[in-house]
Amino acid sequence: MSDVVILGAGISGHTAALHLSRLLGRQHRITVVSPNSNWNWIPSNIWVGVGKMSKKDVVFPLAPIYRRKGIEFVQAKAVAIRPHGDADSERPAVDIVHTSAAGAGREQRIRYDYLINATGPQLRFGATEGLGPEHGNTVSVCTADHAIAASERLHEVIDKCRAGEHQTLVVGMGHGTCTCEGAAFEYVFNVDNELREAGVRDMARVVYLTNESELGDFGVGGMTFNDKGFQTTSELWTASLFRERGVEAVLGAHVERVEPGTVHFETLDGEHHSLAYDFAMLLPPFSGVPLAAYDRDGTDITSGLFAPSGFMKVDADYSGKPYEQWSAADWPKTYQAQGFDNIWAVGIAFAPPHQISRPRTSANGTPITPSPPRTGMPSGVMGKTVALTIADRISKGPMAVAHQASMADMGAACVASAGANLRTGSAAAMTMMPVVPDYSRYPTGRDLRETRGELGLSGHWVKLMLHHLFIYKAKGLPGWHLIPE
């Protein structure tokens, strides 16, 4: 019997767990370690953040699903990996600290034969002074609870607009190195929609504050589309939406600090600015969760397994080449950790070899450039790919060839809601293929037949359909595996 341990139960970890359960049956032990007892369909937090959905619409408990699937669930956070074992045993192990109400703080060491690191991001609100809902002055939609607080604050602001007070709402990125611009883009247009539905749009100034150097970058360097016989860009297409909705955009911005009612930021030209606000939803930068690694004798080998950012180093090219020499081939294919054939990192947990957007620094040397997104569809594909590799290694032997899923070969759909209503809603629906542009295969970096952008009501229907489909899939209900990642 083999022990497979999965750290994290987000999209990639949970997908890996479900596929392993399907592929391995109950002859092998699959254990999921996650500090959270619930699964959250994070893309729909946007709708919780404007009050269109409740927490129960986007969250469900993991334990009953895992019980049904024969997966062991441990509510705990991993704190250290011991890939060569410890003084007691050569078997690799993970140190965990329980987080459930009953066992909070209890430490445990669990052994594994195969390990998947799917720990996701650490939300680094602390990277910017005054950022965040707990110790800062801004709201967030990163978790369902954050989104509930954001919705409450938004509706207070809407009430003030109704009372005749002009309000300024700022939505965007809380640091120059943030990722997930698509989420902020989506939220700003849902806020705009909410203000319109309340009949107070004329009382509100809405500002999108982003680290992207141009609109439509989305951390993937923007996209080129074919449109009615012309090649157009995601920049033009996105700018059109901002102009149509009257949303102001501030580009190439690094938020330096947030005081109550004022956000201070630096722009690429090195200038410093201040903007007074009544409502601010600013996303935090991400890092890997704090995980150490130790050798058998207790020697710290963390820097061998993890990049300084805390993300795990996998089969990618981390040589730090200049931007002009970056290529699609630098991106990982198997997600196997460097130096270990039984550890993988998937989703946000793997260290990207470099940005996808062109890296930029301000005139003062401050990095202001989006980090590469690796959430949603690619995360799920990575989870499934590693599950297939592990299942092969267990059933065919340790030499079984690893399955591959490079972000330079896979496509992704990004559906950014711009108003939630079945008859009057709208969304910017984009597909790109591949996620990481490959200029050796495509003049524009991507396949123009598959890379498209459309605005309209159908995009909202797609977003709503994906919400229901992925929650159905995540619950492991009959036929779940037929729904693609």
Binding site: S240, S274, A413, T431, R452
Partner: protein
Amino acid sequence: MPDNPPIPVADLSRAPLPTEAMQRYRRNPVVQTWKFAVFNARIMRMVLKGKH
């Protein structure tokens, strides 16, 4: 309330605005049902083409 000093808001005055016909097109249930089907077919084709 004007910013003092002003913040560098991007100039979007040259971005194309949709015509009324385009806005109707984006909300037309028949057109959008077709678009919905095409978008889903494209996602499926992309999933099948992806080397994974």
